[in-house]
Symmetry: C4
Subunit: 245 residues, 4 copies
Amino acid sequence: MANFKGHALPGSFFLIFGLWWSVKYPLKYACRKNKKICFFGSKVGFQRVEVIEGAVKAIFSLIGMLAEQFVPDGPHLRLYNHEEKQWSHLMNWQHSTMYFFYGVSGVVDIITHTTKAVPVAMDRLMLAIAVFVEGFLFYYHVHGRQALDVHIHLLLLFAVFGGALCIFLEVFFRGNIILELFRSSLCILQGSWFWQIGFVLFPPGGGPEWNQNDHNNLMFITMCYCWHYAFALLFVGVNYGIVTW
Amino acid sequence: MANFKGHALPGSFFLIFGLWWSVKYPLKYACRKNKKICFFGSKVGFQRVEVIEGAVKAIFSLIGMLAEQFVPDGPHLRLYNHEEKQWSHLMNWQHSTMYFFYGVSGVVDIITHTTKAVPVAMDRLMLAIAVFVEGFLFYYHVHGRQALDVHIHLLLLFAVFGGALCIFLEVFFRGNIILELFRSSLCILQGSWFWQIGFVLFPPGGGPEWNQNDHNNLMFITMCYCWHYAFALLFVGVNYGIVTW
Amino acid sequence: MANFKGHALPGSFFLIFGLWWSVKYPLKYACRKNKKICFFGSKVGFQRVEVIEGAVKAIFSLIGMLAEQFVPDGPHLRLYNHEEKQWSHLMNWQHSTMYFFYGVSGVVDIITHTTKAVPVAMDRLMLAIAVFVEGFLFYYHVHGRQALDVHIHLLLLFAVFGGALCIFLEVFFRGNIILELFRSSLCILQGSWFWQIGFVLFPPGGGPEWNQNDHNNLMFITMCYCWHYAFALLFVGVNYGIVTW
Amino acid sequence: MANFKGHALPGSFFLIFGLWWSVKYPLKYACRKNKKICFFGSKVGFQRVEVIEGAVKAIFSLIGMLAEQFVPDGPHLRLYNHEEKQWSHLMNWQHSTMYFFYGVSGVVDIITHTTKAVPVAMDRLMLAIAVFVEGFLFYYHVHGRQALDVHIHLLLLFAVFGGALCIFLEVFFRGNIILELFRSSLCILQGSWFWQIGFVLFPPGGGPEWNQNDHNNLMFITMCYCWHYAFALLFVGVNYGIVTW
């Protein structure tokens, strides 16, 4: 949804997941290293956590899909507008598609960690596919918009495709704490950048609009992206420190 | 062949192979995990299956090559038209080349699994090369066509090059069920997308043609590609479920 | 800072680090192979070296940031010029950002090698991120300049992104002498190329300026880049020879 | 050198090396599998072969460099033409640079396999760098030429960069027969394609010139590249068969 809330909502989800991961993985790592102190429960406990995480992902995705479809100016499951002879609300459908893949990833998480039938790395492959699909749709999403709008969305792709690659590597290097923390930081970056996009393109409180074609704005935004990542790294670092301590 | 049948036929082959793989690899995986129940036969049985698969691939490729050459308006093995001073039926020759590499891949499959002279990973390398060559030729194939035509063919390249990369990884991680299922899903995607290209560019039954330059059509097609992949994943999942059960 | 000194200074830092690495890693490698002769100290000694290296990195970065901010024509920590309604000294801010990430990498080095809380591969991940951010900012930095200026900066990116990839691989292949020497050579290349950029764009001693759009200049510069790398390889080779001997 | 001989000569070198590798590596592989029959000599024998190979590479490169410099219309080691105020014979200098890196690779081969000081994977890294530099210079080489000329040279880059990647992988997977055969085939492809470029751009015997901008020619050349690769694979396969048998 092309407004402030439409960027703040998914941004919040990514932020929550990123921060949660930056707590979960250090905890898991500490438990593996030091089996005595670990009061969180054994392997079974972590497995339950994974199942809950998958369920939350699936439910959030379902809510997102329903919201995209049934907001007042949404498509209401209608794909083609026969009166106007054109596709109806393609934006909302694209967003629904993104949510759908995350939903599938959630369901696969649940199946992987409740039964033993599915190889355990399947959850990572499915998550990598979901993230890749998000980036793939975003890439073709911004075609034909203004310079700043395109640039600010394309910057997001570094976090998205970087994340997809990182998760795909986890298929082979499962449980590598470095990759897990890297993924957490990229997820936080994605979340906070969604908020930034909202603030830049739809200034809340009716602030002045940004000049879309000023080269300086483009250069500032690029730098700003790096600062966001610096903060994401800081958060991951602090969480890691607290958990280990 | 630039008509509906020319897209439906290779599409069907890819669909058949993708669905077959999505049955074969879970079966193999189940057999490895649970050696008792496995009534399919031991390693020898699977080796025989590989040989048959290679033979089918080689025969299909041969038929494809002959068809491309000897259809009424084909080149009949003539490469250069001396009267008109230009290359003759380049399209058909390009398709023949694609089939040829798949044929070589089939032959290498047979050699690899009947003799012990060739290292076993060679079949994957050759398949990766065949898939890459397909993508390589497709990439230069669409030069100078209309927007939707180009876009719908380029989308195919994600499945093709993704598949080539996945198969190349299998050279090093042979027997990794995750990669094998991923490959199956990409193969199904390729097959179903060939059908979709046929329906869009050559609507059977004389339906109305698509507007080639409408930006909405491009965006819809991009999304549609993701839906195809969702279905491909569903098929792989269902097949996996049935086989394991 | 767009002058000769602004390129010579970072160039010198990269040169020093590259040359230092081309001494350190062969030494470490020789010690591992031949534990008797090694008078440099054991594992503890190398750990102390890593900490010092991290500290030097952090201090240099801090100096760099302060210099960029507080030079006479610098931003003095002011980001937005409210009088002229535009961003203030974006260049200096971008350079500060680059230095900041190297500073974080230095701090992570220190933490990694003094405490045991952090997994040891974290220093490589953070360095890879710092190098990537440098390349990322450089890439968008040169937008809209003249042909030779753009080309000479983009050539730098081969060394930068090559280095980032190499360091990222070291997360998984830690202590691989091949990768470490490769990284050293790329670092020296980066350093010497910074000097070259300074000489070409801001000829010291008031030499004649280069024709920015002459195609021959572009081709010469490309070749010159390879020569720089040949020298970088030579230095690494000679250092390796001396150390091993 | 922009004439038929200037393409045929390097082409022949690549062909010879590719064919030689397609004999050497299967032989090595057969010896490793079947230690009794192997009459070629033990590890020492292969080491001597590597040294000779390195020497041949270095000598060929030296000859190539001298030829590029001292042909009648060559630069004779003069880099800048002070009379005309422009760079002198940049083409020849670029070719000399390419040869130089191959020469370094040859020298590193000799050092690696005669002394024990250098880690053995260094020869692969240096070869990968040499191949990459060749591709890098080629990429900027063709700037501003005609369509077919550019295309036919860029196609070469698939073999070059593919080869560089393959050799870089061998740093980590040394002695992997699949990668070695893949590299041989790409090397043969490069060699035969150099000959093809010579035939197309400088038809010997004064044949008619090719139309540089005809789209059909471009499409034919692309397909022709695949046929060259098919032949390269055939040669590798036949050599492998003969050696194993």
